[in-house]
Amino acid sequence: MQQIINHGDTETRRNQGISVSPWFVRIGLWLIPLSFLVVAFFYPLSRILALTLDPKTLTPQNLLHASDVVLFTFYQAALSTLLTLLLGLPAAYLFARYDFPGKSLLRALTAVPFMLPTVVVAAGFSALLGPRGLVHTFFPLSSFPFIGTLWAILVAHVFYNTTIIIRVVGNALASLDPKLEAAARSLGADSFHVWWNVILPILRPALLASSVLVFLFDFTSFGVILLLGGSQFATLEVEIYLRVLRLPNLPLAALLSIIQLICTLIISLIYTRIVTRSTIQTAPRSAESNIRKPKTLREKILVTAFAILLASFFLLPLSALPLRSFFRLEADRGQRGEVQYGFTTDYYRELFINRRGSVFYVPPIRATANSLGYAGATVLLSLLLGFPAAFALAKPTRLERILDPLIMLPLGSSAVMLGLGFIISYGAWLVSPLLVPFAHTLVALPFVIRTLQPAIASIPERLRQAAASLGASPLEVWKNIDLPILRRATLAEATFAFTISLGEFGATLLISRPEYPTIPVAIERFLSQPGGLNYGQAMAMATILMLLTVASILFIERFRLPGSGEF
């Protein structure tokens, strides 16, 4: 799951006036989260690093192979980013400048993929355009090879990340003072010069930041590449996975992990630099609105056509998935000539049956129970670890400024790498299903901390002082001020960690035990098996996962703090 990048400037302003707790309290707050990170991240990281720096790893052959993989990873990420801009920029303009019926719904729709697990998106495109998909079955003549091509990867990446461009560039465009345009015109600039000399330069930071962010997500993408492209498209992530499970070569996997970590850190640094620098020169925001209804006929046609294009691009894969999960389009297994096309609930029913010779040793529906259990454990663990850290970070001292980047470091490492680290460090423990929530917590923790921290810091000391002056005891202050404000944030964060755990694919694929599959792992296994029944079950499972995720998103939306950011 790919999510949240926090624009860190909002917190610092709010911290003024918050008293700092004594050092022993702060050390105490840090103790648990830091020990967790050492066990779950830094020790495994050091093992990977040690393996990488081994002379037997740094052979010319390995390095040459790694450089090939790096090049291809950059290539596909750059291509994906370009295509995302191609769709995202007109979409951003559409949302920032025009008012049309169904606009907010369409805007929400474009954001849905971003929250969906990669397996669901992969399953959706497969259900629509795959060899067993709807288009291939119903329009065999217009069908074209899609799954297993570079196009599948690129299209899925565009599907995922267009919302970033829409939000970041669109917001910049919408908040652009329309008077700047008016001023430029009155000074003699025609439309071209208004765009070239005024609007684009002002949008540049937003354009750059969103492009780098999209690039980062495309660079670290794993699920869609593995499931839609296949193992011939060896990006860093996919190659690490292959070198752990399919063609074991742990030193090479370790080397690739470290390269990947360095690359993502550099890209993140570039992103942070763009964001911090751009906040200095933002244009004065304007209350005046740029948004208007399309006026001329040409405008109306263009707006309608593009809105329909966007709607179908985002709606088709998402609706193909549940549709396909209820339709039998081919023989289940080996039944010749007696295939019944049409509506079926077989794929769902089959999930409850433990067939001999099937992919699992347990009824596949058990994967749902496993996922929910892991997700619950992840929620508990991440809140337990996230709260003390977020409290400490809400009133930062020098200690916090040193520890803050350490806490965020797992963000820069790929999920597959986390799995690799667990295998290298705790191989013998892999029997324990405990490792999965540990890995999920590692993925969720930076997000949990980053969103709890501003919520805690945003409670102004003045509120507490006002409550105290009105006669509230410290306990009553906590109960009546802090708690109600944090309750919403906590609920939102719990759901968020829950959603991340449900959809986590990369790390789980490496460390989950065969008898304890999660939903995404089950989907991957169904998809990699032959037979219509397996495919149908993959669709059914993916539909269940999609529903669970969407339910979580709706839940988060209800509890999101007002003004706590877009993503």
């Binding site: 001023a183 009155s186 600039a189 002002i202």
Partner: protein
């Protein structure tokens, strides 16, 4: 020079500008004065070519500008929040219009220097506009508009975001610059002090129509309607009923605070409802005497604002005591 002919514009079905016509002559500064929502900024945008009117047209030197897009009209525009380009420094902001006109580098440098000199900002060339104070930003905006030597300058509440002292200083500077450059100007504001200080002619806009037009002095002495008198804060507006004509030709009008005798040229009949303006400054001569009990006294630098129990307020040099009954002789005019 600039002529505005019968402009109509509606906003969400309601008329925003209703048959507006006006004229600006060489070297003249006119001021559109009106409350927010009176359509004055829209009128400015229509003149600038940034918005289209539903009917009517704009002409300059007898030439119809309907087909001329904003960037070819050569009208300078200065906004309340300056609209400086945040990605350009002071020099590049001022040079923007000159670059659009593809002037030679040397010419651009010279004109930018001149403009910055005119607004007293020489030496600010390489500063970022976001680092400037509000007053400095507005000077840059003015320099930017002046640099292209436009044939008309338009100001949309240019000093609205500034504090009082700064506003007065800039207003004086602006008046001098406008006189020196002789560029005709339209100044839009809701602040009557600003309007009276800068305008050769004031046009008061209300409900999409020009309700009063004239020199500041004319408008001040004869507001012409209860709305204008109230909007300009000229004094107490009193509703009254005509009782009849006196032998000396003056009307006798009964209002809440008492009975007044008013001379006016309107045609009235007995029983007509009229609005009266009771100026708060006591005067000698043709006046009405009013009495009332003092309810409130406020010190206002060079005078006391005294409110009476009949609702009227007057300006006095010496403060009476609250509760005291006083008689004041003030001028009461008929507003029709």
């Amino acid at each position: 020079m600039l002529e505005v002919h019968h402009i109509f514009k509606t906003y969400e079905g309601k008329p925003l500008l209703n048959d507006i016509s006006l004229k600006v002559d060489t070297g003249e500064t006119i001021c559109l004065l009106g409350a927010s929502g009176s359509g004055k900024s829209t009128l400015l945008r229509i003149i600038a070519g940034l918005e289209e009117s539903e009917s009517g047209y704009i002409s300059f030197n007898e030439q119809d500008l309907t087909a001329t897009p904003a960037h070819l009209r050569d009208f300078g525009l200065v906004f309340q929040d300056y609209a400086l380009f945040p990605h350009l420094n002071v020099h590049a902001n001022v040079a923007f219009g000159l670059k659009m006109r593809r002037l030679a580098q040397g010419e651009i440098a010279e004109r930018v220097a001149n403009s910055l000199d005119l607004v007293d900002l020489s030496g600010f060339e390489n500063r970022r506009v976001t680092e400037l104070s509000g007053g400095e930003q507005q000077r840059v905006a003015l320099a930017r508009a002046l640099a292209t030597r436009p044939r008309l300058l338009m100001f949309d509440e240019p000093l609205g975001a500034l504090d009082r002292t700064l506003r007065e200083d800039l207003l004086n500077e602006l008046r001098m610059i406008l006189h020196r450059t002789n560029i005709p100007a339209i100044y839009v504001t809701h602040d009557q002090e600003e309007a009276f200080a800068i305008a050769d002619r004031v046009l008061i806009l209300h409900n999409g129509e020009i309700v009063r037009e004239g020199t500041p002095a004319d408008v001040w002495t004869d507001p012409g309607s209860a709305f204008v008198a109230g909007f300009l804060g000229l004094g107490n507006i009193v509703e009254g009923k005509i009782r009849g004509k006196r032998k000396d030709g003056r009307w006798e009008v009964a209002g809440v605070p008492g009975v007044f005798s008013v001379s006016c040229e309107h045609k009235h009949q007995e029983g007509d409802n009229v609005h009266l303006l009771a100026r708060p400054l006591p005067v000698e001569g043709e006046v009405s005497a009013i009495t009332g009990v003092v309810t409130d006294v406020v010190f206002q630098q060079d005078r006391f604002k005294v409110t009476l129990d009949n609702g009227l307020y007057v300006y006095l040099q010496i403060a009476p005591k609250a509760g005291e009954e006083i008689e004041v002789r003030i001028k009461v005019e008929c507003l029709a």
